[in-house]
């Protein structure tokens, strides 16, 4: 007997560890490329960081001094190396608008986005996968039609419109949820002055502090925007789940499972689902990354102080270090998620492991 690998529990894990090492290498190269692109963009755009610091009436001597201070008099490649060196050390420069460290500012804004996107993805997955399976197992049925129409609405209705209507109905009319922002002002003060911040994600921090009133308030604030993002990702995930599941249910191994007398739930949720999970992981990771990129519109409507609104504000102020810093963080999140989905993919699919 040849070709059969030795039986051992490490068989699942060892190749995966190798993949992780390889993935980290790829990650480094990708990020370097990302830095290069953002750097080039920063030099191409017709904004002058010096001018926005010194103002229009500065003397040429003042301008030259600032240029030198910012390192703009050096050759481009040297500037890039400095940029990379700083970025590796976690220094993304200073915001021109506020004069603060971009890294520190992003550390304040990003958790808000992370919290929102994570909840949205969880919601989208928990609803989207069963909905897709339901539709796939009863093609043409009323359930299938409902999933299709609801999903189509999620695709096609602009998110800002859904958000405004949502606010109007659930906040304005029904008063079921809290309005824009992450917390009511009172709780916001409590959060800032009396509670310890561990992660910057209010739900997590409030829970860790045992401050359940803050937690409850945060929940009522996040439900609507997270539900909205969840709806959009659910629309996508349910569609993809439906088509993956339909495809798997037509496979011969499904007949085998039925011949073995397996009950239908097991045929669908174990035999087929294990195969559906393989492509679905990528879909969910992509939709998560998409939400993390800063759902600018959603964050704007809900006055959500997240990465999306941070980058937008910085852009309007021609605050390039802030824009670039935000872009790099988004890029890192994207690449990291991609890698994570690659690894998960290999854990689920034995054929991809070898």
């Amino acid at each position: 007997m040849t070709g059969l690998p030795a039986p051992s529990p490490q068989r699942r894990l060892l190749p995966v560890l190798g993949q992780i090492a390889l993935g980290l290498g790829t990650l480094a190269i990708t990020l370097l490329g990302l830095l290069l692109i953002t750097f080039v963009i920063a030099r191409i755009v017709p904004t002058d960081p010096v001018l926005s610091i010194v103002g229009e009436r500065a003397t040429p001597a003042q301008i030259a001094a600032i240029r030198e201070k910012l390192g703009l008099d050096l050759p481009l490649w040297q500037q890039f190396l400095i940029y990379v060196r700083d970025a590796v050390q976690g220094d993304l420069g200073r915001s021109i608008r506020t004069g603060q460290s971009v890294t520190a500012e992003i550390a304040r804004y990003f958790p808000a986005t992370l919290e929102l996107a994570t909840l949205g993805t969880i919601f989208g997955t928990l609803v989207g996968v069963p909905a897709g399976v339901l539709a796939a197992t009863r093609p043409g049925s009323i359930a299938d039609q409902i999933v299709r129409v609801v999903g189509l609405m999620g695709y096609s209705m602009p998110v800002f419109w859904l958000g405004l209507i949502g606010l109007l109905v659930f906040y304005g009319q029904l008063d079921w949820v809290a309005g824009p922002g992450r917390l009511d002002p009172v709780y916001d003060m409590m959060m800032q002055f009396t509670l310890t911040s561990y992660t910057g994600m209010i739900l997590v921090d409030a829970a860790l502090n045992g401050a359940w009133d803050v937690f409850a308030n945060a929940v009522s604030h996040i439900v609507l925007p997270a539900g909205l993002l969840g709806y959009v990702s659910m629309a996508y995930i349910s569609r993809m789940t439906r088509s993956f599941m339909m495809n798997e249910l037509g496979q011969e191994y499904i007949t085998t499972a039925r011949v073995k007398g397996m009950p239908e739930w097991r045929v669908i949720w174990v035999h087929a689902m294990k195969n559906v999970a393989v492509p679905l992981i990528t879909v969910i990771a992509l939709s998560y990354a998409y939400l993390l990129e800063g759902s600018v519109l959603t964050e704007t409507i809900f006055a959500w102080p997240g990465l999306g609104s941070y980058i937008t504000d910085a852009l309007f102020a021609a605050d390039m270090p802030a824009v670039l810093g935000g872009t790099v963080v988004v890029g890192v999140a994207f690449v990291t998620l991609n890698m994570a989905s690659d690894i998960l993919y290999r854990l689920v699919d034995p054929r991809a492991r070898a």
């Binding site: 011969e252 191994y253 039925r258 007398g261 195969n275 034995p350 054929r351």
Partner: protein
């Protein structure tokens, strides 16, 4: 009493351009014997086999005047009763193990899941039984095969696993749907002889579906020749070469013979039927 009785079986598919009958009235009875069903692609032989298990996927529809297995009415049995029959008393081996085994589950899990879920066996008992079943199909390295995934096995090995899996519950009837068509010729003989031995030893009924007339003649007691959803001839396998029906004769004429003339083989004349 016969094990399986099928009377006037019809399988209909509703398509956009109207109904298509894949099987148009097939009748046969089966004891503890080996029945071959031969026919070209699309003759309805596979659908006949799957109808017995009631595993024709929608929009396919199964109808018959009667279909009983061991005295039980298969047409009106509940899905739960069908599941009990499928798991326990009727098995089916399909054409290509590349597709009929679940690619992301280990062989071990696929072999033991019936034992564990339906029969409530513990992990070690189920594993022991599964290994014994693998050894019965002449897999020497059973413990290692248990840990392997389907893509790590060769075709012949995969098909033996499939046979082992279907024989674990010791069914009374095995449907083998082109069990060797996806295999190399050398491996075919091996798998067939394993299948033959097990079916003989356990006294099972066998429905052997194939497009290979000679194979069926050698391997079965009785042969149904199907064409366009109908049985055109039912004949003792030993007398296959004396078949009367022009379609069967036509098929036989199209077979090459070792040592025969090198002239081009005749093409099946479809005008007559």
């Amino acid at each position: 009493m016969s094990l399986l009785e099928v009377r006037n079986l019809r399988v209909t598919f509703a398509t956009e351009t109207g109904e298509v009958q894949a099987v148009r009235g097939v009748s046969f009875t089966l004891g503890h014997e080996r029945l071959g069903i031969v026919g070209e692609s699309g003759s309805g032989k596979t659908m006949t086999g799957r109808s017995v298990l009631r595993l024709v996927r929608p929009p396919g529809r199964i109808e018959a005047d009667a279909m009983t297995f061991d005295g039980r009415d298969l047409l009106h049995a509940s899905e739960r009763e069908m599941r009990a029959l499928r798991g326990k008393r009727i098995g089916m081996v399909m054409q290509d193990p590349k597709y009929s085994l679940n690619p992301v589950m280990t062989i071990g899990r696929q072999l033991t899941e019936g034992l564990r879920l339906r029969d409530g066996l513990g992990r070690s008992d189920a594993t022991a039984k599964a290994i014994a079943a693998l050894e019965a199909v002449q897999i020497r390295d059973a413990a290692r095969v248990m840990e392997a995934y389907p893509h790590e096995l060769s075709g012949g090995m995969g098909q033996r696993v499939m046979i082992a899996m279907m024989l674990i519950p010791e069914p009374d009837l095995l449907i083998a749907d082109e069990p060797t068509s996806a295999l190399d010729v050398t491996v075919q003989a091996e798998v067939l002889s394993i299948l033959d031995g097990l079916v003989r030893d356990r006294g099972m009924g066998l429905i052997f579906i194939s497009h290979d007339l000679r194979l069926v003649a050698r391997f079965c007691d009785r042969v149904l020749v199907m064409h366009k959803g109908l049985v055109v001839e039912e004949i003792e396998a030993a007398h296959l070469m004396e078949a009367q029906h022009p379609y069967t004769k036509g098929l036989l004429n199209c077979l090459p013979r070792i040592g025969g003339s090198r002239a081009p083989l005749p093409v099946l004349d479809r005008a007559g039927f």
